[in-house]
Symmetry: C2
Subunit: 582 residues, 2 copies
Amino acid sequence: MKVNRFSRYFPILDWLQDYTTETFVRDALAAVIVTLMLVPQALAYAMLAGLPAEVGLYASMIPLVVYALFGTSATLAVGPVAVASLMTASALGGVAEVGSPEYVGAALVLAALSGLVLFGMGLLRLGFLANFLSHPVISGFVTASGILIATSQVGKILGIESGGSNLLEMGHDMWQTLGAINPLTLVVGLGALIYLYLCRNYLKNLLMKLGLSERLSDLITKAAPVSSVIITTVAAWFFNLSAHGVALVGKVPSGLPSVGLPPLDPSLWATLVPAAVLISLVGFVESVSVAQTLAAKRRQRINPNSELIALGLANVGAGIGGGAPVSGGFSRSVVNFEAGARTPVAGALTAIGITFATLTLTGFLAFLPKATLAAIIIIAVGTLIDFAAVRRTLAYSRADATAMIATIVLTLAHGVELGILVGVAASLGLHLYRTSQPHSAVVGRIPGTEHFRNINRFDVETDDKITILRVDESLYFANARYLEDTVLELSSENTSVQDFVLACQAVNEIDASALESLEAINRRLQEAGIRLHLAEVKGPVMDRLRTTPFCQELTGEIFLSTYEAWTTLRQQKSAVGAMSSA
Amino acid sequence: MKVNRFSRYFPILDWLQDYTTETFVRDALAAVIVTLMLVPQALAYAMLAGLPAEVGLYASMIPLVVYALFGTSATLAVGPVAVASLMTASALGGVAEVGSPEYVGAALVLAALSGLVLFGMGLLRLGFLANFLSHPVISGFVTASGILIATSQVGKILGIESGGSNLLEMGHDMWQTLGAINPLTLVVGLGALIYLYLCRNYLKNLLMKLGLSERLSDLITKAAPVSSVIITTVAAWFFNLSAHGVALVGKVPSGLPSVGLPPLDPSLWATLVPAAVLISLVGFVESVSVAQTLAAKRRQRINPNSELIALGLANVGAGIGGGAPVSGGFSRSVVNFEAGARTPVAGALTAIGITFATLTLTGFLAFLPKATLAAIIIIAVGTLIDFAAVRRTLAYSRADATAMIATIVLTLAHGVELGILVGVAASLGLHLYRTSQPHSAVVGRIPGTEHFRNINRFDVETDDKITILRVDESLYFANARYLEDTVLELSSENTSVQDFVLACQAVNEIDASALESLEAINRRLQEAGIRLHLAEVKGPVMDRLRTTPFCQELTGEIFLSTYEAWTTLRQQKSAVGAMSSA
């Protein structure tokens, strides 16, 4: 038991005892492939976040090692990701000038804060909070973020300086600077874009036709960004493109990040809290989805609350190790999985790979054109944009589609923060609205059976002295008054009613407000000379009702089944009828 | 139909055509009694709100007439009420100095704004929003408000000037000024308090013992505040108590309010919006509860959305007619009902009564000691404080009790606004938390029957190749992932499972997120070689599922009943078993 309690906080204790040389070889191979993929992405997402290139590399060192120690997913590839980088840019834009040391410091604070938020949620076991980001809202948000990200990179392809945190600002900015297009940058950027597009869509099939295995073809295809980096970097060096106005990554400090506390400015920390919460939640939801999808393929389990702690510490690591907010990346995790990673050691080895690259490649990367990175980003976020999901959701549920479209429109028009907040509020509001008007139906007996069905949809037997209302939802404060209204309306419509039966087979819970409503219904029906009965009350609900005065005050009875209520009440009436006619 | 559409907005068209002399006599009698009760209350609640005495009277004129034209309740007595007056004082305290013309102007703005909020909600048919104030939160809020109101009046009884918007501030203020107690004020205040207390608790029985009818005894008891006003006013005039430091109401302008727009200062309006929304919602919930309770006794119905419009216009009337926020008062409405009011005409006649009092009695009321009004308020709010409700709620539901206690504590410690907001947030949060972890149970067959029960609670037949999970809640975004977790945990625990059945008899809805979770569950189980089946899916839920790709992708079948799933799957297995052994 002792070991188990420890391993809840240190999953590494679970898997390290079975670690073999074979596992290491598999992890190492996966790490090499992920490193190749991560180097250009790390540079690109740093640029997207408005940060110097090396920050992306630093964010791919300490956080990966920390996650390997605490994470429960064997294959989640942690590091800089597109959406978190966009949200970082949006959060820091209001706090400091892009390119300034304050901006870089604020990114450290944001990473540390996100980490503390995630870590705290993990300790308090608040992983369930992420469930309040509904699928349509997340999907809409990711689609809109993808569009924003792609748009933000168009300027880099054109060789113009443009900014903005929403589609309108970006469009306006680009329009203003359109005269300054740099033709050579456009050649490099558009060339890289077309090259990456062709690789993504046709290279795999081509390689397979040439006789390579599907897995190898797939991995080579995924490494296309590396070849685009090599080609354009060599070209930039050879043709001295910098002298012709092509923006290059420039001097990247070769060496390791200095470790230390992020700037301790209380007002800066306070300002960044809301953004940190949003980045944490979105990053957590994405990471857990990916990790769960991959774990399920091997019948493994991941623990969301342990993931919160692991991702939290990884971000704290980013904050003290020169990085920026990190989370689990979708495409890199899939590559990690397919390349055969067996344990989090693969992540730690990736960190070593990135460190090696930082120590050796920075001279080379200085000649990398920014337009190449922009092309890599645009192709990468292409997979995020999913309009088919909007169509699917629209066909299935208007309420869900409303929340989704509100999220997309507001994210595009007002930026990521307002977009996700409105999405969450809309989905909560629509859910509460739906459950505040619960479905219920007056039912009658299908002649000759013990079954009762909606009187409006079936040809059923009824009795104008007995109303049976089937309630199709749990009763709680938001719908309690609606039930009161429904019952009182039904009983005032039909003045000959003497008995009112609530059939509760779908009622999983009755909260204190609903209990008061039932008491009020009972009292009001009593004043109108009508008895209230319950039928088919579930065991746990009945257990709690039994302790309340409501059970004593109830003017009628509690029947096991609707059929029992029907036959008992009908017999009573015919007995009374016989007496009065006698 | 034309008439009906009109009468939705003008309920007066409904009841005026049946109006008779007899109805008028009943309405007039009720109006006289309510007027007697309202005069001291109007003055008292104006004082509670920090407003001049006449504002209470003005708020009992135009709003009552407006409500009579648009209201659907025959007996709701609209006017100044205790909780709204406390909330008004709290809202205006931050905006202007008590006693200044700006303070009075801000009260007009607050009334007009509340009116517009209510009116707008009525037009948009948003009456259901009031349902999100759960009963325990309202009840806790009213109890805490009652305590705050009573405490705020203690200073007036002692003859000291004290203020504060929460219990701590009030206590501190009172402690600071305790040296300035005025003994004569204390005699008047404590005398009135004891007199009113004795009347409330013993007068009715005494009068009935003296041979008066119960109804008459009750009405005389309810009029005790009037006699306390008369006695102390005469005493104050006779003994010239003002000269001995007893605070009197003082000169009340005799005449009608001047009608006009409230101050049109945009920043003032903007500042008061949040307070106006809270006052509107709380006032609306109280009014509708009272109106519904009384209407049900006569098998009448009130329409919440029409009530929003009527209360909204009544408050707009208060805003342009020199008043302050109004709503339906509980005790006055009950008196109105018991005195025999038949139609809203009773309310209009009450307004005439108040107008008559304002024109004739202000000379007399100038000598009314404020301590008497404080005593009237303390006795009146005594009925609001209900600690038994806390005990009841605690016994029934810990979650509801948590929201209730949070509301009480925060209202007392931080004032009305934060209290009600935290209460609403807490009850919503707790509800969402509860439904985000839906109850579900693995079930097995009760041998020899078609019934399936929880394997942990019953001795049932199971098959280690078939898992049947009964889901006891509608599936939506907040609990979709929890279901995923439960299913995947169950299937990874038992590796011999080949078929997984979800029994959905309690699932009233599957939203887009839950649909995606079902798709994910289906995919993941498929990857693990397990088929997913559904059973007992409700008609409307099935109708929507049928249009989705999920139905085609489903690896298993959709069974009408759990029993059908059980027998079919068992047969398949025994057939396969027979084949493999053959």
